[in-house]
Symmetry: C2
Subunit: 209 residues, 2 copies
């Protein structure tokens, strides 16, 4: 793997992973990172407070609402979103640095974020949509968590139905993975990383010693 | 693997593999076929005599020069080539049948053949160029075979230099694999098969039960 990553004079690739709520994306992202030491995870900024166990610069950059607003104003964000009372953003500088240095980045963002990133970075970004295997599976996953009321679950499922439409947006997503079997989905995401690094449009002119 | 192949209502994909002489392509094609029981190998027609061990319909369809000419005339070939005193061709019917039925096909053809197939089948075809790791490695591989004179080897290397230019043809080749380590190259070709089957432009409209 490292040969393909480091040995060629190519630009870094932004792998943008998004999924409807409950698609099991987080586990999949972790599996991809664990399997691929050359892959950098993009760390978002947020205005919300750290939760127990969250670490600055590993899970998020925790910033004040003022600092967030100032940096958004300065054009430092590749994408940003307001979720309930808090704001989240992906900083541009680490992405552009990685592209220039030929390092690959994994981004775990929502559908709006994926749209913004793909628009901004074009061919340097690869969109991967992770689908839940079925509504039935998703519903039982949500119920198994035991944290939501029936009404909340119904609202989430409704939202997923809306979000699922994004799975057809070929200008945003290049690949679609069905997260039915966790191991297979992990293999599939790794195959996408490997294949994209071999694309002729990325590897540049051939050279033989 | 079979889920991705059979479970979705998609068209079959033609994986077109070609390489400069001595690129180690044959071994790689065999590894891909062994690892993937859903993949069909395209069998060529030829006017040459079977060699010892070659089996009709497995290695080639052996036909007379007259039959070859008649079928070429009838437009039955996706591509054909004359190599020394013999002619070779890829029959169209099995390819078009596989595309329609959602079965994937592996084609082991030369660079001219890859150009013709990509032109004919467009997005249904995926071109993979297999590079020898270096001229030095290629030269020692040719010498190790012990079948060629110095002059023949020099002529082959010269031909490889010419053929290598095709490795930059993005309208023909989608991927480039460097065949340095046999196992890694085999993993890479398998990753390409997996990833291409997940491409949004192939898998069609999402449906959730």
């Amino acid at each position: 793997m490292s040969k393909a990553v480091a040995g060629q004079n190519r630009r870094g690739i932004l792998f943008v992973v998004s999924a409807p709520s409950g698609g099991g994306k987080t586990t999949l992202v972790k599996a991809a990172l664990d399997a691929d030491s050359d892959l950098i995870l993009s760390v978002s900024l947020t205005t919300r407070q750290p939760r127990v166990g969250e670490v600055e610069a590993r899970d998020y950059y925790f910033v004040s609402a003022d600092e967030f607003a100032r940096r958004r104003e300065a054009g430092e964000f590749a994408e940003s979103a307001d979720v309930f009372d808090h704001a989240y953003a992906t900083p541009r500088a680490p992405l552009e640095d990685a592209i220039a240095r030929g390092r690959d980045v994994l981004l775990d963002v929502d559908i709006q974020g994926a749209r913004a990133l793909k628009k901004l970075y074009g061919e340097d970004a690869v969109g991967i949509f992770v689908m839940p295997p079925s509504f039935a599976a998703l519903e039982s996953r949500l119920r198994a968590r035991g944290t939501d009321s029936d009404e909340q679950i119904e609202r989430r499922l409704q939202r997923v139905r809306t979000e699922m439409r994004a799975a057809a947006e070929t200008e945003v997503y290049d690949y679609r993975i069905i997260n039915e079997d966790r191991d297979q989905a992990a293999r599939e995401i790794r195959a996408i990383l490997t294949a994209e690094r071999l694309r002729l449009t990325r590897v540049g002119e051939p050279g033989l010693d």
